[in-house]
Symmetry: C2
Subunit: 357 residues, 2 copies
């Protein structure tokens, strides 16, 4: 087991990474304020891991809540189901919520914890690669709105993260590949060595070889923790983590949530960002090609879905939450391992990139 | 005009108090991050003050949203109507929400601002005495849940508060008296001089004599600001602001919300707290009588409503205890101007107090 620490002063917390960490009470005990624990998961994860997760809290007053799975379920309505249960069972301010599942469960449970009685503790138990390397770390929580993803949320850090890499074995290949998009993202943003390592070990990671998997999760978490520690509330550098996401969110919104997985949309978005960077002359064409090649090896989409035309992409991108005062801000690449925020690009280059994509 | 500063480091903000402050752009201009402003109010306040409030932001891109009035409207559903509007109009992260109205609008708009895109700025323009002296200051925001008041919310400080005392002239007498209960509360908790001042000037405040009103609002805000600055997230001393509220909530719940105004229930609750303190021997009888006398002069209730017997009060107070977790904790008085938190009191004394009340 390895531990990555997220340094945030009083809100610091550990990410435990390794095999068979569910069911180990000693990892969570220091992070529970009171005796009441509500474990929330979805109907796909529950049959696989709920029993193990509950065993982690066998010394506590434990409740469980199983929500329907899927991005389309990340709604205010399901959030309210969590509140209903907490209040029906009279959970107090020292209660702890536990998010067992992927990014959807993690984001929604985290937001419920942020709001319930103006804030209670929560623990992330991510069971997908995407959640282990990205969404469970850093305290971004949210639900979707019909007009935009993650539009309603809060910054609320977990008390700890338990990333049991054994749970990745139940992921279907498509989910695993989608998670890999976010792993590759960290190499692109700030860690060229990791990108090179991934070029050498991609198949080992996708094959879930234990050491390669743990290494990929650990280095992803280290990269994310460093960014989050420096800029918790995304006033600056944290926005770099959105590489590929403005394009990606537009794809997800345009297709309707759930058609493409988040990581798939981000993969195509990162290729768009790399190609746009190359068009601007900021990134050598060869490097943009390397980005595309690695994502193709992971069998991730690297082009826009044919259903979406340029106009609908531009429309969805303009409502994205990274629009500041009407200006669209994109994360572009100066090199592999060096992402930058850009506001003043020629809109024609964006249009040309989308047309070519 | 006077200014009370709430000191919270980077989240510090001014409360402007005085007549005819609505419509003065220079007071809000330093606190607006971007150009988009959504002014939210209710259908009772809109005909009276919306035009003036909008004039304050005449140099900005202003939208308005009018919600139905009343505590029963402080729901997730109405919160979502705010999000609908923000997203339909593509409001960005630098947008500002403005809460024009009483505590219901302030709490709901503040919570919307806390959650929209994980936090945007907001400005409080309180138009009731209760909101000017209490709910608009300190950053507690929330909506209600059918199983409990203010159960879903956040701590989110406004960028500034504009307390235009002229707006109090449209309050009906009952609302004004109810707001006065919270004014008297500050004297009881931490400011004996203010209590003595109120004994001398109560009728001037209730008569809305401009100087007396401004003074009452200013000193209330100063007291609240001091408590909030010391304990923003209610980890300790801020709980003193709940003087009279545990009794009061039990009255409100027992009668059904809306029968008594919040301030009315708090008034009777403060008398209970004073009488219980006297029974314990913590507060001289003469001081408890002074508390009751001042509230009687304000024509506020000082006894339990006859519909509620001791058992139902104890039931609602203990339900409250379970909902909030832990032990029943009451705010009692060691002196006028010196409130204390107490958990270890003899339950018989609580019962005797309720029987006598």
């Amino acid at each position: 087991m390895s531990i990555v620490q997220v340094d945030l002063g009083r809100r610091s917390y550990p990410i435990h990474i390794g095999e068979q960490l569910l069911g180990r009470p000693e990892l969570v005990a220091p992070h529970l304020a009171g005796r009441q624990v509500l474990v929330i998961t979805d109907d796909q994860v529950a049959p696989l891991y709920l029993k193990q997760a509950l065993a982690t809290f066998s010394d506590y007053e434990t409740e469980q809540l199983i929500l329907p799975a899927g991005e389309a379920q990340k709604t205010l309505e399901n959030l309210n189901r969590i509140f209903d249960r907490l209040l029906a069972r009279r959970f107090g301010r020292d209660a702890t919520l536990v998010a067992l599942g992927g990014g959807v469960i993690g984001d929604m449970v985290g937001f419920a914890a942020a709001c319930y009685q103006r804030g209670v503790g929560f623990i992330q138990m991510p069971t997908t690669l995407l959640a282990q390397v990205d969404s469970s770390v850093g305290g971004k929580t949210a639900v979707n709105h019909p007009l935009g993803k993650n539009m309603i949320g809060a910054f609320h850090q977990p008390r700890c993260v338990i990333a049991d890499t054994k749970t990745l074995q139940s992921l279907d290949t498509r989910q695993l590949r989608a998670g890999c998009a976010e792993v590759i993202k960290y190499g692109l943003i700030s860690d060229v060595d990791f990108f090179v390592w991934l070029e050498a070990h991609l198949e080992a990671v996708l094959g879930l070889e234990p050491q390669a998997t743990a290494e990929a999760v650990r280095r992803s978490c280290e990269n994310k923790a460093a960014v989050v520690s420096a800029d918790e509330h995304e006033r600056g550098q944290r926005a770099l983590l959105n590489l590929g996401h403005t394009f990606g969110h537009a794809i997800e919104t345009g297709l309707g949530y759930g058609r493409w997985l988040h990581g798939e949309a981000v993969a195509a978005g990162m290729v768009m960002a790399a190609q746009m960077s190359a068009r601007i002359g900021m990134l050598p064409d060869r490097e943009a090609a390397r980005v595309q090649e690695l994502l193709e090896r992971a069998k991730l989409p690297t082009k826009l879905p044919p259903e979406l035309n340029v106009e609908s992409m531009l429309g969805h991108m303009s409502v994205d939450k990274k629009v500041l005062g009407g200006k669209l801000r994109l994360v572009l690449l100066k090199a592999i391992g060096r992402a930058v925020l850009s506001e003043d690009f020629d809109p024609e280059i964006l249009r040309n990139t989308l047309e070519a994509g």
